[in-house]
Amino acid sequence: VCHLALKFLASSNRASPVYRVTAWIAGVSVEKRGLLFDLALVSDPHLLSVVRAAIEKLTEVAGFSPPECRAITRAVDEALANVIRHAYGSKLDERIEISCKKITREIEGSKREALEIELLDWGAAMDPEKLNPRSLDEVRPGGLGLHFIRDSMDIVERRRVEGANQLRLAKFLSEKESIKDHQGE
């Protein structure tokens, strides 16, 4: 079994501007659980580039096309930026967790693989009024992040769970890629 584990610095201290990245890639035991990638970081915007690099690589490995890789990366980046700015009010040392899983759903009789990305934060609950993207007919700065997220992903779901904001994003692989995956099982 090819099992590659990457660990970049371990610390989950919420008061410290260090972060923990733990990734498991392509291990069979991991595949069964569906978990591809787990990451915890503090709410420092300078870490967004680290997350983008990781998500972009993960989407490549998962079999998405280059435009899809960029779209998923953009959605996660914008969602994280929203957490930092709105849920945590730009505080730099609050905890954010990201979990990426491979899931399978049956759509119109065929099995489709998807990448599911879950973001968790313990900041202020999102104001439902602010979750409606603005009209794109207006030429003004700001308010575009939600458009980018919705445009990029097939599933966007938000919940408030025991004091945490949970955002679930999912993107289906093309039918061709899903079939290739199932033949390989």
Partner: protein, 109 residues
């Protein structure tokens, strides 16, 4: 993010390198607005060849730059957009409000 300026007779070109995101878009905004307020050239060009990624806050900074340029009666031009940068401008439908060129030669023409 690295920003440097080349000033010529009638044009100022900003060479921007790096990712434009929440961490550094305020810096880009500040530099652009200062330059546009004090600009002595009728044309300001942003060389984005070295920019691989722009997020929504970066797009907002570009829109503010464009508005400030229009207020001063200046042209505000972009060139060298990466696929990712082009996609965000297309998704936001803002690509049509910017003057966008492929390369410096076309931007200067």
């Amino acid at each position: 993010l690295q920003i440097s300026a080349r000033r010529m007779d009638k044009v100022t070109i900003f060479d921007i390198t790096g990712h434009i995101d929440l961490a550094n878009s305020p810096e880009l905004r500040k530099v652009l607005l200062k330059e546009l307020r004090e600009s002595k050239t009728p044309r300001v060009i942003l060389n984005l060849t070295g920019v691989r990624y722009i997020d929504s806050s970066g797009v907002a900074s570009l829109v503010e730059g464009l508005k400030a340029a229009r207020d001063q009666g200046l042209r505000f031009i972009l060139y060298g957009l990466s696929p990712s940068a082009r996609e965000v401008l297309q998704l936001s439908r803002l690509i049509k409000i910017f003057e966008v060129f492929e390369n410096e030669q076309e931007a200067l023409a």
